[in-house]
């Protein structure tokens, strides 16, 4: 495996590439979300092995090129973005549900989230 000390490493075998993500840093959900965008043209499989998530990507059809280094870079960056989205979801996801409920079926918003000013 190509060893990039502070980030995911990758290994090519023919048309297939396997990218390894440290499972103490990256959550499975963020990997799944980032990898999903590739499934139009690529077959993606993910497994866990010795503290790492191994993401294997190969072209699904004839005529699709193996994933380029540039696109692997995008995948790694997308995974970071998805990780941030997970944090955001945990902190504000419930409020989105309340917003939609309140928009379509008025509820007592003050009962749902309280009538408190956080500055107090």
């Amino acid at each position: 495996m190509e060893d990039v000390r502070n980030g995911p490493s990758k290994k090519r075998e023919g048309d297939e590439i396997t990218v390894s993500f440290d499972s103490t840093i990256y959550e499975k959900e963020s990997l799944l979300a980032a990898a999903y965008t590739l499934t139009g043209s690529y077959t993606v499989s993910i497994c866990e092995n010795e503290g790492k998530y191994l993401v294997t990507i190969r072209p699904s059809f004839d005529g699709v090129s193996p994933l380029s280094d540039e696109k692997i870079g995008h995948l790694i960056n997308d995974t970071l973005d998805e990780q941030l989205r997970l944090h955001l979801e945990r902190r504000s996801g419930q409020l989105r549900d309340i917003i939609v409920q309140h928009a379509f079926s008025p509820i007592n918003i003050y009962e749902a989230v309280g009538n408190k000013d956080i500055r107090q």
Binding site: A33, D81, S92, I118, R119
Partner: protein
């Protein structure tokens, strides 16, 4: 120094090198650098960060009463989804599949002009209109489609007269539109359209050599000359404000869009919808000759948008209608009635289509699928099924349940989600599944590309360009808009 804040929900996506675009549930947007974004999400954004005040005023964070912030976001959210409260307002009647033209990209796969077995009977037209008036919407628009709808004059006139009769009791805002190639138009027809206030929507693909490339008569020959003659007659009888035109982008004109726009200006139109090819009917069969990649479309779109903006800056008011719709969604909180890009999808709940035999479909593409042997999206028939069965049945329920981008994988976290929509029929056609796999699809690529182009303009924030874009949203010509602004400045 930190000031406590509650993080409110939003989406974000990379926009430039180290910059992100963030859009929240009410459609407010913000450009923010990566470091600030991370701090924001982790709750560490300091008070003195340059984005802090914007984040608060646009409700990405709440620093005071949380309930009040949610109330404001929910109000805007409800405003954006206003189209839902009306239910089905657009009712399209396919009065015939016959057509005197044989356009190479025809997505309805029209039949020759003797194939009367595909004509809607007057009884079927009236029954369809009765069904349309069952809709709770206060606005009913009846749109006549084909083939070439003027080839079935009895059904068309029956439908108009029936609708007017029903509306004397119903009291709805009733509109009519006919989608016609103009080549079969007669004076009597025009007078009928004038007397019954039927709007006319036609097709113009550019100057003669471009228009006649794809829009040809079934018996051979181009249609441009006849089209121009009829257009003059339509304007003389019905009024120039009652006729509009659409174009279809094919490989024939995608690199000549300035010529197409010039033709529209020359013909007196005040706007254009740069419409990409849809993968149905003849367009799908001829895709190799007519088609292009979405990357090609996006590049051409950006160029023509700049061309059109320049036209406006030189004094000619001319709008690009797709940009206008998206900009209305980005820059205002209001709902836009664009059936093709809604969440949940507009198919069925905003517009329906009645086939020549009374079959009801949520979209024309669904009707096309049925012609190809797949009746997956047949909602019912006006002769045998009740309104409740057709509009409350399992077909429509499934479409609505599976076309909310807010819950679809990939779409739910997309930064453009608040402005976007889905096309479940197209997903089904391309993947065999209503939800489909949208990321990377032609539909997704096109819409994302256009939104990126528009957001680049918004970010550049050139005052003159923004004035042009706002003039499209308000429908107010630039000169008038600038005069109003001058008066406001003087008064202050």
């Amino acid at each position: 120094m930190t000031e406590a804040y509650t993080l409110l929900p939003f989406q974000f996506g990379r926009f430039a090198c180290d910059e992100y675009l963030a859009v929240n549930e009410s459609g407010e947007y913000l450009f923010i650098d990566r470091i600030s974004l991370e701090k924001l999400i982790h709750g560490d954004l300091p008070r003195e960060n340059p984005h802090f005040d914007d984040l608060r005023s646009k409700q990405f964070i709440a620093t005071g009463n949380l309930a009040l912030a949610i109330d404001m976001i929910a109000t805007r959210y409800r405003t954006r989804k206003r189209f839902l409260s009306e239910f089905t307002s657009l009712h399209m009647l396919v009065v015939t599949l016959r057509c005197n033209q044989d356009c190479t990209y025809c997505q309805v796969s029209a039949e020759n002009d003797e194939a009367e077995q595909f004509d809607m009977t007057p009884a079927s037209a009236e029954k369809s209109v009765e069904m349309a008036f069952r809709s709770p919407s206060p606005n009913i628009k009846i749109e006549f489609q084909g083939g070439e709808p003027t080839l079935n004059w009895p059904a068309l006139t029956s439908a108009v007269l029936k609708a007017e009769e029903l509306n004397r009791t119903a009291g709805k805002n009733l509109d009519f539109v006919i989608c016609t190639n103009l080549t079969n138009m007669t004076r009597d027809m025009l007078e009928f359209f004038r007397d019954h206030k039927v709007g006319i929507s036609t097709s113009l693909d550019g100057p003669p050599h471009l228009h006649d490339e794809c829009r040809v008569l079934r018996k051979g020959g181009g249609t441009y000359e006849t089209f121009c003659k009829r257009l003059q007659e339509v304007r003389a009888v019905c009024g120039p404000e009652n006729v509009s035109a659409l174009m279809t982008t094919t490989s024939a004109n995608i690199d000549s869009l300035p010529e197409v726009v010039d033709e529209y200006v020359r013909q007196g139109f005040n706007g254009i919808f740069i419409r990409s090819l849809n993968p149905y009917g003849l367009a799908s069969e001829n895709a190799e000759d007519l088609g292009y990649s979405m990357e090609h479309f996006a590049k051409s779109y950006e160029k023509i948008l700049d061309y059109i903006i320049d036209l406006n800056l030189q004094g000619t008011y001319f709008a690009e209608f797709f940009a206008t719709i998206l900009l209305s969604r980005i820059l205002t909180p209001f709902s836009t009635g664009f059936v093709d890009l809604q969440s949940p999808a507009g198919a069925g709940i905003s517009g329906v289509i009645y086939d020549f035999n009374g079959d009801v479909y949520p979209a024309d593409e669904a009707r096309m699928l049925a012609r190809m042997g797949d009746q997956r999206f047949l909602m019912g028939n006006v002769f045998t099924d009740s309104y409740e069965k057709i509009f409350g049945g399992s077909v429509l329920q499934e479409i609505v349940a599976k076309s909310c981008v807010e819950t679809m994988p990939g779409c739910a976290s997309c930064v453009y989600r608040a402005y976007c929509g889905s096309d479940p029929i197209r997903n089904y056609l391309e993947t065999g599944d209503i939800v489909g796999r949208r990321s990377g699809s032609g539909f997704c690529s096109k819409n994302k590309s256009v939104m990126e182009i528009l957001f680049r303009k918004i970010k550049e924030n050139d005052n003159r360009v923004m004035d042009v874009l706002w003039s499209w949203i308000t429908g107010r010509r630039l000169a008038c808009q600038l005069k109003v602004e001058e008066r406001c400045c003087e008064n202050h």
